[in-house]
Symmetry: C2
Subunit: 175 residues, 2 copies
């Protein structure tokens, strides 16, 4: 590798909640290597949280993720909707964290619809809240961040490991 | 005011999607003033997005929100669940953005349940994803950030304007 700069990628997403999270993380990291990047998955850290109560265990994981982000130059976020019409909130937090550090923000989603089309209702939803209609894949904060320094790739595909890797690899090709 | 430092508060939340967003923002700002703070609501900026297509209009709003955050010392985020078991993703992004700038992160929620209790299933949800069980009000990234420098107040109350202001004021009292 001639260019050692901007080569560390934080692999963000609800991937960590997958039953095969470790396999997915390893596969993404292998792809990163193939394109000359070093991928870092939140589950990588050898945290010793055994014996901790749930709350302090969660805080320890938070700090470990912060430490990984601080060492990475790029984030590639899995922005596929998670438990609702929007992406995973933890991943959204991480995109904001990296944006404030002026890092490179990329995202991908296996849902090609516009955010506004994923919510029932036209101008407002069932609770009376305005539905953002900015022709964007999700809330404008995340799309703004990717537009500013990176990009977002969306394709409507079933959420299989293979499809995640397929679209993830397309992001790597554009980096 | 003797202390002019750490006095600007970014008022984050899905409040901007409320039908009475302007009223809610004004009321929060009035409360901020009463406690010696200066509150900044995302809708404050006099953005001229008329004539813009939806996408560039969204990008302009993103940039305006970033500019407000860059000028604030504190964020108070409305973390009440929004369109799902978690908080609004745009607000989550903003908490991450402010966390990376080492700012003070406070949140409140009108849902006092633990995150894990808002999702059907025990160890995993209906799609097979692990349910985080860290005795936290939401995903550990946001709770970690509030734990690190600030706090989070939760109370189970109906989502009326009055209740939002009531819990919001309790946060101001602790600042």
């Amino acid at each position: 590798m001639s260019n050692q700069q901007n080569r560390s990628i934080y692999l963000a997403g609800p991937d960590v909640f997958w039953p095969n999270a470790v396999e997915l993380g390893a596969a993404k990291k292998a792809l990163c290597l193939r394109y000359g990047f070093s991928g870092h998955f939140p589950l990588d850290t050898e945290l010793d949280i055994e014996g901790l109560q749930p709350f302090p265990a969660g805080i320890a994981i938070y700090q470990a993720n912060i430490n990984i982000m601080d060492c990475c130059d790029i984030i590639i976020a899995n922005m596929t909707p998670f438990r609702g019409p929007s992406m995973d909130v933890g991943t959204a937090f991480e995109m904001g964290y990296m944006a404030a550090q002026q890092k490179i923000i990329w995202g991908y989603s296996l849902d090609g619809q516009l955010y506004s089309n994923r919510i029932e209702g036209t101008a407002t939803d069932q609770d009376g809240y305005t539905i953002e209609s900015f022709d964007m894949a999700d809330n404008l904060m995340m799309i703004g961040a990717t537009e500013n320094s990176g990009g977002v790739l969306t394709e409507s595909l079933p959420q299989t490991l293979e499809n995640h890797l397929r679209v993830f690899e397309k992001v790597l090709q554009q980096l």
